[in-house]
């Protein structure tokens, strides 16, 4: 599940960072909204950048002028995430994926509540490479609870097969999580949308600029 979450984030951000960094997002934005003025991001916007996925694939749809700012992230999967977001600034994204159990009693520890269960990340895209790290935090509050957990894993990626633009192509990701894990991310764009398919994740995600 952790890897799935990492993949999800990476998939979202590969799209988002590259689009933003390279201004490649073209097309008639399927603009079905106006963004939202709330939130903490700069450039809250006029476009309605939307991403989604089905099964093991994901999409990041972009407006004509991709903006930096705060993105909502949602998902549909076995471990569907809680309220999550990332903030895109240039080619860097900072955010957190909150796991579904955060804030709920821990079913395995009757007197404990999971106070924090999230992956906080920072990722940067540059040309054909992606790099970053995740800090995985799980904390409990209550009686006779597990020891809090905190660890960091690194993620790197490179584009091994370029496509028709700065985002298209096949990407190989390496997640250093107590031993490297490689996976392939296939990215395709069309009419202002970007899709990313992971070879090993069923995690489905969506991202939308607020």
């Amino acid at each position: 599940m952790l890897r799935a979450a990492l993949f999800t984030v990476a998939a979202v951000l590969v799209g988002a960072c590259f689009i933003n960094g390279n201004g490649q997002a073209q097309g008639d934005a399927k603009d079905n909204g106006n963004g939202n003025g709330s939130g903490n991001g700069s450039g809250n916007g006029n476009n309605n950048n939307v991403g989604s996925s089905s099964g093991s694939s994901g999409f990041v749809e972009t407006g004509e002028t991709p903006s930096n700012g705060a993105w909502d992230v949602t998902a549909a999967a076995g471990d569907a995430i809680g309220p999550s977001e990332f903030v895109l600034t240039g080619d860097t994204a900072n955010g957190s994926i909150v796991k579904r159990g955060e804030g709920l009693p821990d079913p395995s520890f009757r007197w404990c509540t999971v106070t924090k269960d999230r992956n906080e990340f920072q990722l940067r895209a540059s040309g054909n490479s992606l790099s970053g790290s995740f800090t995985i935090t799980t904390t409990w509050d209550g009686f006779n609870c597990p020891q809090n957990q905190l660890r960091t894993v690194t993620v790197s990626g490179k584009r091994t097969a370029p496509g028709k633009n700065a985002l298209d192509g096949t990407w190989t990701l390496t997640i250093d999580d107590g031993g490297s894990v490689d996976a392939t991310l296939r990215v395709a764009t069309s009419a202002g949308s970007v899709s990313a398919t992971s070879t090993s994740s069923q995690f489905a995600f969506a991202a939308r600029l607020r």
């Binding site: 939307v50 949602t74 709920l104 821990d106």
Partner: protein
């Protein structure tokens, strides 16, 4: 994480859905009803307090009928395994010797479950929040918002965000057939098509209650039993209404109207529809021609005023 399975396990608890109105009317003389979903929003304090899943009858029945025989069999096995452990915990003369959550087996099932299950689990969330604390609840079209929440108008800038966060409802389609038989036929056709669809998660129809009794009876019974056991083990009231018999109706949390009409079929989407306006509708038209599709509220419609 482990709430997802509880959700599935709770497949038995209580609630409907919908969408809007502008559309290709079947006939101009026929007035289409205002069925669908509205969004009610509020900003909550951080950190956001999580709420237990709120399952409704339509969700549970629709999901059970969406499962392939193999998926249903796997779920049935998982539920039975979970029930054994819950039973051991509730029985003073036995002991659950295993560690961890009895519902872990359901979580494992859910991890490999079809898209219908993922949509259903998401739809069972009582509210849908952004990380900044902006949360929406879904109510049946025209219903009052819960106290303290404000209706999100279609003209509001936040409407798009509400649809996104609450995507199982924000992108669902409500179909209306001319006759009950036609509605049942459309539901069956869409259900048969959903397995290979990129956009349809599952289908809800008034006949689902009866159909689950005849086609998924054992699984349905096991889920009821699971909910009872789980509640007993956790000190919850096992008699709190969650009837799956059909006459319990929806809970107050439900986004569904009190009843799905015999002419109606509701299609819940996969997440992939979020950025593909019109794709679900096109697929529905192809799979079930003859029914009226009430357009997604807020989706671009010819001459629409968004």
């Amino acid at each position: 994480v482990k709430r997802a399975h509880v959700a599935i396990a709770a497949l038995v608890v209580c609630g409907g859905l919908a969408l809007a109105s502008r559309t290709r009317a079947p006939s101009k003389s026929e007035e289409l009803p205002e069925l669908g979903f509205d969004f009610c929003a509020s900003r909550v304090a951080l950190p956001i307090k999580r709420e237990e899943a709120a399952w409704s009858h339509p969700l549970v029945f629709g999901l059970l009928l969406a499962l392939s025989p193999n998926d249903a069999r796997r779920l049935s096995t998982a539920v039975e395994d979970a029930n054994h452990r819950w039973e051991a915990r509730t029985n003073p003369f036995t002991e659950d010797l295993e560690d961890g959550d009895p519902d872990d087996v359901l979580a494992k099932w859910l991890a490999d479950a079809p898209a219908a299950a993922r949509t259903a689990v998401t739809a069972a969330k009582p509210r849908f929040c952004g990380a900044d604390g902006w949360c929406v609840r879904v109510v049946a079209r025209g219903s009052a918002c819960p106290t303290g929440l404000e209706r999100v108008s279609i003209a509001d800038r936040a409407y798009g965000r509400a649809r996104f966060l609450a995507w199982p409802f924000g992108h669902a389609l409500w179909l209306r057939a001319r006759t009950p038989a036609e509605a049942a036929g459309a539901a069956a056709a869409l259900r048969a098509h959903a397995g290979e669809s990129e956009h349809i998660a599952f289908v809800i129809h008034a006949g689902d209650d009866e159909l689950t009794r005849t086609t998924r009876g054992d699984l349905r019974d096991a889920l009821v039993q699971h909910e009872i056991l789980r509640r007993r083990a956790s000190g919850d009231d096992p008699d709190r209404p969650f009837r799956v018999d059909g006459d319990g109706g929806a809970t107050s949390q439900s986004a569904f109207p009190s009843a799905i009409g015999p002419l109606d079929v509701v299609v819940l989407p996969r997440l992939s529809v979020v950025d593909r306006p019109g794709a679900l509708e096109a697929e529905v038209h192809a799979a079930a021609p003859g029914v009226v599709v009430l357009s997604e509220r807020g989706a671009p419609v010819e001459g629409g005023g968004r």
